[in-house]
Amino acid sequence: METQSLLVKQQNSKTIVKSPSLWKQTYLRLKKNKMAMVSLFFLMFMFLLSFIGPYFSPYILDRTDVANMNQPPSASHWLGTDNYGRDILTRLMMAGQISLTIGIAAMFLSILIGSLLGAISGFYRGIVDLVIMRLADILMSIPGLPLLLMMGAILSEWKVPAEYRLYLIMIMLSFVGWPGLARLVRGQILSLKEQPFMQATEVLGLSDRRKIFHHLIPNTVPILLVVATLNVAGSILSESALSYLGLGVVPPTPSWGNMMDAANNFMDFRKRPWLWIPPGTAIFLTVVSINLLGDGLRDALDPKLRR
């Protein structure tokens, strides 16, 4: 045994072959994952389409055109028109802006609240931990959709104007999303605290703030990155469900979910599938891509399970 430890010591004193940084390795591994790369490119395309696409559209978002109502897809209206004569493709792109923005903003809010509360909880333990974690337990034991339905109903009661509603939807989604994240971060912090480098910060006498923000939270970034990606997918799904039910983003603001409201009209549903299939497909493809990308990231960051 002595032999080995001496050899190891000797090795360490020599220069050690430098391996590329974690991020570079992750990037290289991700690049090899075809499904994740296709997803990444599709998402980029979706963003460009939603945010830049409308500038190339000859149609104005809310302008109604009585002469061209309920037209099936054609050369001038690629995805047809709705029952006000509005161009579906243009609305789809504008709705994409709203749905993607809500998904991402809700994710950032959840991450902010979740990682902050989780870090405080895991770092200070004691009564703070107890209160935060019980609160998280309570929120997590109310199933997500019923909780969102209740809050959606509250929004309707408060008669929130349509243009402010989307901000409240973001807050609602993060309200449902933070407890899981807080738990995750807390668990990570607890195990990190046991590691020698944290004992070193103790010896060095660093302030709590420095310990939390410089040493603990950065170490949870890889796992947070994966969860954040998957969280965007979840938020987009929840938002679309709420909007489909008329409790989320409401017209005239378009969102993929409320565009699908067309399917609630039986004639539209049977005879005019171009009204509801494009937004549904957009949600599906976006969510699938985000999920595949998130999974690819997980594999790239944690290669233990791969070869």
């Binding site: 019980r134 337990d137 309570i138 469900a241 549903f269 599906f284 699938v288 399970l305």
Partner: protein
Amino acid sequence: MKQYVLQRFLQMIVILFGTSFIIFFLFAILPGDFIDSNISLTPQRAQELKSLYGLDQPILHRYLNWLGNALHGDFGYSLKHQEKVLSLLNKYVWNSFFVAIFALILTWSIALLTGVLSAIKQYSWFDGAVTFLVFAAMSFPSFFISLLFIKWFGVDLQILPIGGMIETGSENTGVSYLLEVGKHMILPVTILTLLSVGSLTRYFRTGMLEVIRLDYIRTARAKGLKERVVIFKHALKNAILPAITLLAFELPGLFSGAIIMEQIFNWPGVGRIQLESVSFRDYPVLMAFTMFLSCLTIIGNFLADVTYAAVDPRIRLR
């Protein structure tokens, strides 16, 4: 073990109280209720009704009142259906339950089989196809897939009914009644299964992948056991045990996942009642249903933790 159960039990009670309070509180801050939205009432009559339903008292008082009643099984009166909430839910919950239980059995059997197979054949074409389908299933919005299925199987192919539990005006009884309901159930069960099978398959695949790399699997092989025994006895038991804790979330998860599906399929279950009460501001029903799902989750969670502790020898004796 005894201490663990007791501790978990107390924790469960605390969470039950907290959850009921949050749910009550959310409804209490609603500015409108059934009475406010009924514009045919005179202000005086409205006031009378409010004090009749106890709506004019402070929140905490109303909460304790509601909780006391709820503990006696009195969740109030459905303002829309003019019926006790408990009997209303009892009437519809079974329709949801049967769909959920079929979906549950299907989901777990499919997930277990495909998860294990794709883990032991990691990176094969089968594994690739399963992974792809899993992600597709996880990413479908429930309303979109419901609508698509109705369009394909109900409208275009016309091989399955587009909604409801029985044909309108049907007076079938006995076996033919069951067959009719069964036919109406195919799409709802398929959709619920599709929506939940993805993540569970993934869970089993990951669990299996972790386990088959462990030392004791190598030991089992070194003992000269058949590969079948190594995988389905030694690996599977380890991979499956932690899944017990997931079982707790399944039933309430299926109930809440069914809300939108039931609405679209016009299935007479609690989910549809729930959505109906959102639009009619029938808050006692909404509250009772949300409370019901939360209780299922909390109690299920408690039972799952205790069961898991009881069957896993590593925890059992601590």
